[in-house]
Amino acid sequence: MNLTLKIWRQKDSNAKGQMVDYKVNDISEHMSFLEMMDVLNEQLVNSGEEPVAFDHDCREGICGMCSLYINGEAHGPDRGITTCQLHMRMFNDGDTITIEPWRASPFPVIKDLIVDRMAFERIQQAGGYISVNTSGNTQDANSLPISKHAADEAMDAAACIGCGACVASCKNSSAMLFVGAKVSQYALLPQGQVEAADRVKNMVAQMDLEGFGNCTNTGACEVECPKGITLESIARMNREFVKANVKG
């Protein structure tokens, strides 16, 4: 198939960016979206132009690095996948495809389609962990009884890969689905109880400090999340936050 691509080009974080049109021809419908981007970049390199910078790593849908806003949706028009798992069969010959970076003030553009998602790392550092002794005395995980239901829900929340599609899709650039998932995965397990109050308070404080917007429950995040994290994570975080504040 032959396609027209409208891609955001921005030299660096201080430069003023703009949309630039490119043509790519003979794209196979079996290619992944990122392979199509590789074809474009090869074309650009061969003609002496600067290739388009975009994030990618595992290309297996598990690392959370790829991050494109394609035709007005995070990770493109398909559901439950990251951009690397998006295939060109979702598009038609002659289509014009718009490709933009995540847009959110706490995710500034570094170059072209790459944004700085370190705000997520700082939120994680604020409380997204449990303090356990791992110096050779690690207990067998099965020594603590955990209900199947709680374990399943915790695992569902832990599926979050921190790609930022939730923030990118949210009209308010809210990070509550991400933080909700990180709070939930520990809130549901006994290991997470000891630091539960500090965790939710510190992570929410860091989230607010980073400048993410407030959640208005539009639900766009859960629709676009490649890992199926639901608004129930946000509801649980809200309950944990109230509980932590009531305890003082």
Binding site: Y69, G72, A104, V204, M207, N214, N217, G219, N238
Partner: protein, 219 residues
């Protein structure tokens, strides 16, 4: 407490709490208004009670005014914060693919409702305060029905009310279940509550519209 209210989640919960109070108030207000269709006497009686009962006047009314003002002010504060978080907009954004129009435009339906409340205060609340506390006219328990009918004579006011209540319906269509979600309840995601929310967001505005149109046609 001030720390709680400065946090994003604290504000979200405060918005939901004020929303619950306002949604409860709408039921009471509509229940009183509906009586004007079939019994002017009952409407007068209930309005007289609401207008003179000290508990309603000096306990519930200030809470209501606070609830209304708080909901609007906090709505604008959060909207400004959210706009700051999204300074650069997408060239192409397909919001309809993942969310409802109502959920994305709460600020606009809210502004329409605010404009209506200003008109409603000018129409009813300010004349009421003037009647009772400024001019200090003696209370006439039979005056309310006539005042209501008189208000719905001009067609422009009826149209303004109908339009405002359509916006109220759009606001409630998202707001009802959203308030449960903000409170940390997953009930809003269950089918039953979603259907109750849909019914509430249609019945309440429609009820108010019927009252306005009825008095316009029968004055």
């Amino acid at each position: 407490m001030s720390g709680f209210l400065k946090s994003s989640i604290g504000r979200k919960i405060a918005m939901a709490l004020s929303a619950f109070f306002l949604m409860f108030f709408l039921i009471i207000h509509l229940a009183v208004n509906i009586t004007s269709i079939f019994s002017p006497d009952l409407f007068n009686e209930l309005s007289h009670f609401m207008g003179t009962n000290p508990l309603v006047q000096f306990a519930l009314q200030p809470v209501l005014v606070f609830g209304v003002v708080f909901h609007f002010v906090m709505g604008f504060v959060l909207e400004l914060k959210n706009r700051k978080a999204t300074i650069v907009k997408y060239v192409q954004d397909n919001g309809a693919a993942n969310s409802t129009w109502m959920s994305r435009n709460m600020i606009y339906s809210g502004i329409a409702i605010l404009a209506f409340i200003v008109l409603h205060f000018i129409d009813f609340w300010i004349p009421e305060l003037n009647h009772k506390y400024i001019v200090g006219m003696p209370e006439d328990p039979t005056r309310y029905f006539g005042e209501l009918q008189h208000k719905f004579v001009p067609v422009w006011r009826v149209i303004a009310y109908v339009v405002a209540f359509i916006f109220l319906g759009l606001h409630l269509a998202h707001g009802f279940t959203s308030a449960f979600q903000s409170m940390g309840s997953t009930a809003g995601r269950k089918k039953t509550l979603q259907q109750i929310g849909k019914a509430y967001s249609v019945i309440i505005p429609l009820g108010f519209i019927i009252v306005a149109v009825f008095h316009f046609l029968n004055h």
